[in-house]
Amino acid sequence: MSSILAVDDSASMRQMIAHTLKGAGHDVTEAGDGEEALGKAKSGKFDLVVTDINMPKMDGITLIKELRALANYKGTPILTLTTEASADKKQEGKAAGATGWIVKPFDPDTLLNTISKVLK
């Protein structure tokens, strides 16, 4: 079981992500935007972060950069889960420190398989 921070401004999407991850035995903490996620990340230590990109207050790319600047999260896998599919945006995410990029609409098995790979 891993401790996962799931970040998405859509409540229905957070419900589905949390349902998927909890179903696989993971412990899930939810955040509705980058700011909330950063606060929760600083007050705890997660094994993995799954984040949306387009969010109010603080977007996913900024969140990844902020997390990578923290000693606790330099090597933590960070996956994006987003409708953004452009090569430019993916490159921006990679440069910021994203470990992997999953495009919505997503299949629960794809998310779980990717998580298994990056947590190994």
Partner: protein, 101 residues
Amino acid sequence: MAIDVSQFLQTFYEESFEGLDIMESGLLNLDGGSENSESINDIFRAAHSIKGGSGTFGLNAVASFTHVLESLLDEMRDGRRQITKEGVIFYSNLLIVCVKC
């Protein structure tokens, strides 16, 4: 892992109606020609969010429609498509039709 997505639909519908309200307010703030980037971004983010959810929850017609909408908004955002009064009226009417559906 098979997931019954119907359990998330009620929340998705509530979010989508909030998104449509944001889109309506954003459209009403567009005045055709002057700086509209904030309103366009608000509308874009709402459409983007509805697109992501509808695709994931199997509402493919909504996903296709919001994909087109998102592309048009993207063109407005980077200046490839002009914002005109006629365009704003068209999109407002389109939105009203969507809500009624």
